[in-house]
Each structure stands twice: as C-alpha cells, then as structure tokens.
C-alpha cells in the first residue's frame, strides 16, 4: 500500500484513492477530422512504461479531485504529485538500466538483490 500525498488533503493511504490511468492524454477537440487510426490511438493506446510514469489518481473518499502523479513503476517510488493542467516536474529517478531490466535497487528483481563489487567499493 502506498501513501499518496493528495495536493488538497495531505498524506493518505492508497485505499482512499482510485487509479485513473495515464496522465497528459488530452481529448482531441476536432475528432471528426481524425482518421480511425488516430482516434484509436487516443481511445485505446497507452504507454506501458517501466520506469518513470505520469499517471492520474482520484481522491475518491476525500476531496474528489483528480491530480497527477509521477511514479516509478519499477520501484513504486512516488516522485511528484501535481495538479491537473500542470506539467510534470523534472525529477531524478532511479531508472531501469535496460528496457527489460530493473532499477538497481528497490525493485526486488533477482539481479539486484545483492550488492555488486562496484557498489561495495563505492559505499
């Protein structure tokens, strides 16, 4: 269970919130001029990011406001919470090392359960 820092209500348990999908997908205003493929892109297609992902949440039992959140889907770190209409802030994240890989810590992946020599030397 996460704790989510609602921009209006403060720190609350994840159970109070409803996930509301990928953020920053604007509804096309002139859809009648769009091809089927372009429209399908909006309706059906979502990125399935491993790593830093901008997503929307709804504080269902609290202020009932939607807001945006930057979460690292590989580690479940929440990097930022920001309001609808705002741009995602620049953050430094512990990103996956390869497209198929995991962040080097916190992801629970087999490959990163034990410190590497380099990490030992650095610490």
């Amino acid at each position: 269970m996460f704790v989510i820092d609602c921009p209006n209500c403060g720190s609350r348990d994840q159970s109070e919130f409803t996930y509301a999908g990928e953020a920053h997908i604007a509804r096309p205003t002139e859809s009648e001029n769009m091809t089927d493929a372009e429209w399908a892109e909006f309706v059906f297609m979502r990125t399935n990011t491993k790593g830093l992902f901008a997503e929307r949440w709804w504080h269902a039992t609290g202020c009932r406001k939607f807001f945006n959140m930057l979460r690292n889907t590989a580690t479940d770190e929440i990097h930022a919470v920001y309001r609808i209409g705002e741009k995602p802030p620049k953050v430094t994240a512990n990103l996956p090392l390869t497209p198929a890989g995991e962040s080097s810590i916190g992801s629970g992946n087999d490959a990163v359960k034990i410190m590497t020599r380099d990490e030992e030397n650095a610490s």
Binding site: R12, S15, A60, R64
Partner: protein
Amino acid sequence: MNAVKNTPVRRSPLAHRTAMSAPDDVLHLSERAFDAKIVLRGLPEALGPAVAKVTGLELPSATRSTASETHRLLWQSPDEFLLLGPMDSESALMSALAVELEGQHVQTVNVTDYHTTLVLSGPRARETLMTLSTLDLHPRGFTPDQVAGTTFGHASGWLVQTVDDGAEGGPSFDILVRWSHADYLFCELTHGARAFGMPEAKPVSGELMEI
C-alpha cells in the same frame, strides 16, 4: 388540507439502534440524526461572505472545520464545504443562502437526509477508530476541528473532531456517513470496541435470498 390524515413520521437510518456505552465511560456511540446538512460548491471568494452572513462562520482552511454554538462548517475540498445546522433549519438555510448567493457560480444542495451523524466519544474513541481507519488518529496526527474524508472499513465518510482530548469525558468525534452505510459503520465501531467492554451491535442480516 392534506390528502394524508396521518402525521409524517421521520425515521433516521439508525432508528432501530440505541446509543451504546462501554463500562466506565471509556466510550460512547450514538446517532445525531437530523442536523440540517447543506453542501456548498463554489470558490471560497464566492461562498465566504454569504456563509459568514448566514451563519456567522468563517470558511475553514483545508482539512479544518469552523464551528459556533449552532453551526459547523466542514472543509471537503478547495471548492466544497459541508454546512451543519440545527434540526429542521435546512429550508431556511437554503433560502437564506440562495438570497446571498444570487447570480454567483455556486451550488447549494440540501443533503440533510443523505448523511447521518455518528457521535463517538470517550478516552477510547481514537483507538476504536483505528480499528477501521488508516488515518493517523493519534492526538498528534488528528487534532480538534480537523476534518478528513476517508474510509472506515468498507464504508466511507467524513470525520471531524468536535471536542478536545482534554475535555471531561475525553474527545468526541462526529462521523458523517451516508444512509445506507450507517448500520454497517455503527456495528463495526461497536465490534472494534469489544476489547473496551463495548456491547456488540450485530449488523442487520438474514434477508431471504431464495425461497
């Protein structure tokens, strides 16, 4: 002349329950059914002066509430507040607010019958709430006049601390819960307070599902 001869009977969601207490006054649970309740939607600039004029109350800041002898105002979101007033005052409040808010981009909705209020008080009130709520309900985490919309087990509702911890009899909390969740929450609270000697209210059940 009314078509109906019988006088209307008003029943609260928990009319079938009685107030309950644990030994040594460590906990009390009761329903305060008929507060007038009005949702105010709008920006504080629009709502503030009107509410002040009608109730004498200032708009509360985020996650807080303001109160007088007769009224209480709960923050619910940056553009939503819940006004509580004395029983049977909802029509008068709606009318008075309508006059003050004429022409403004606001919404006032009478939700008097939507919620009921559970009153949970006593030195064990916080621990009892902790059996159902994920909020930090330690006196350092949840303070007098604080407000939170949250979940209590599988029900949702609004919690506000109305009486200080230092007061005689301990702190008191109001929980505003929708009609259909009231019985569930009432029973969950007594169930969670068993350890303090609270008698247990069993949820209404046993409806026939087939012949």
